[in-house]
Amino acid sequence: MRIEAIGCEPLLLARFNLENSRSLETYRRHGGYEALRKALTTMSPDDVINEVKKSALRGRGGAGFPTGTKWSFVPKDSPKPKYVVCNADESEPGTFKDRYLMERDPHMLIEGMLIAAYALGARTAYCYTRGEYKYLIDIMDQAIEEARAAGLVGERILGTDFSCEVYTHTGAGAYICGEETALLNSLEGLRGHPRMKPPFPAVAGLYGCPTVVNNVETLCAVPWIIMHGGDAYRSLGTEKSGGTKLWSVSGHVKYPGVYELPMGYDDMEKFIMEDCGGIPNGRKLKAVIPGGSSVYIMRAEDIIGKDVRMDYEGLVAAGSMVGSGGFIVMDDTVDIFESTKNLIEFYKHESCGWCTPCREGTDWLVKAFKRIARGEGRPEDAQLLLDLCDNIEGKSFCPLGDAAAWPIQSAIKRFPEDFKRHLLPLAEQERVPAVA
């Protein structure tokens, strides 16, 4: 698997190939914790927030919300304690970037969490990590202890008045806990059900206190922004999407991996066919899911020769979304009905059961997909699947419902031939050629 920057100097991956990259000593030798020092000794909390606003950094977990704006929602006059929570519950199928950030450069994340805590007036920060990443929790715990011993975590950090504790926390195998309010319930020791918004976590989050939840990659970008300035970060990307972004690439490509690209990288065809080595075994590109499994699937024809720009606006214009940046590439041997069935089974398994449209809807979708897969499809089933999706999309309590509907809706719309074949009577299905 490759891990490299293309089209930019590595920013998030800068220390990945150093020996002992996860040690405090290596991190400090390469400028680590200098951004924290700069923030604590030369900037006010508002200065930090303004710098992050200027950077045009947007949330890298999937929603793409401007980070500085999110931070500015935390009320300054609240007498309650405030919390910073790092969302390391990386569970979106196709996404594995945060895993390598924590594995190779845990201090970058700790520094980002501390700077965020300083900006928001928090004295406690938690890193909620998915349970399967136990080895990363161990790495983080070790890094936190190292930082504590060096006076970088705990009381009077770097000799200033700023004190902050950093703790790891474990999830236990629930995709829904990547949704920030479900994550907070889980962190409070409850079932991971999402909460009603508003109030947003910035006002009433962990234990009812003002809380900011940010993705690992988002927080990892913060030290660089503070060190080099928001304008410098923004200028690496585009006006609306600042900086660089990690893309996790998997599926049918020669070189799967984690790639750091400048926002606005031009273009997606070059990225897949050249940077990632193209499609192996002499096959052709058929489809790409570019932003983790929840976003709209794209046809090869909408990528090849189409100059798709890789940033938030560019991917929307091309009919999909950046999401978490998880590229799943599929060659022409893949039956999109089958790949979609795989995903809806995932969403059914992960639906938390809190609201009826998602709980029942994903169950019915799986039942319909299984029946069709048994050869009992009917021509009207395409509409049935779309109707079921329509009863989930926009009607579920949290975005998991939308995330379950979008892959199906886009697959039926964009790959009707793969569905039509399954919806014929069984005897006729055999007369229609399957995918290559």
């Binding site: 569970s91 349970g131 703790y167 926390h169 079932r191 799967p256 799943i328 795989n342």
Partner: protein
Amino acid sequence: MNPLPKEIEEEIQSFSPEVEAEIDRHIAKYPVKRSAILPIMFIVQRERGYLDAAGIAYIARRLDLTITDVWEVATFYTMINLKPVGKYHIQVCRTLSCQLLGAEKIVEHISKRLGIKPGETTPDGRFTLSWVECLGSCGTAPAMQIGFDYYENLTPERVDEILDSLKE
């Protein structure tokens, strides 16, 4: 707190001082004790093999919760085992990127070798085989975890090597 059934009351015992201290360290991380429930469930599961009724009762007592409070959390999270699992819990990822690169072949191979289907445990209690959802190993697919250890870029040959390398 309501009295517990006698057989459970008898079974609830403290863990070793080291494990109790480990649990205390988790509780100390939070302003509200209940937050430590998942880390403690993993510890109880590690010590007892799975989270049984006595383990649930132990956690309830430790965190000043009701038995129901603990059950409702335990039944929500797939990594909390409410039934015994084998010494080696083989969890193969079934989600899209792994499926595209042959996860089914991997499970077929393991099934054949161990004589169990996904969801089953070998009669000697050594192995449990499970399908699981995305492990975050998409770039190194197909992948599995045995316990908490990741094994990636799997082939049937590699699976044989891995299984051969496991201690009795």
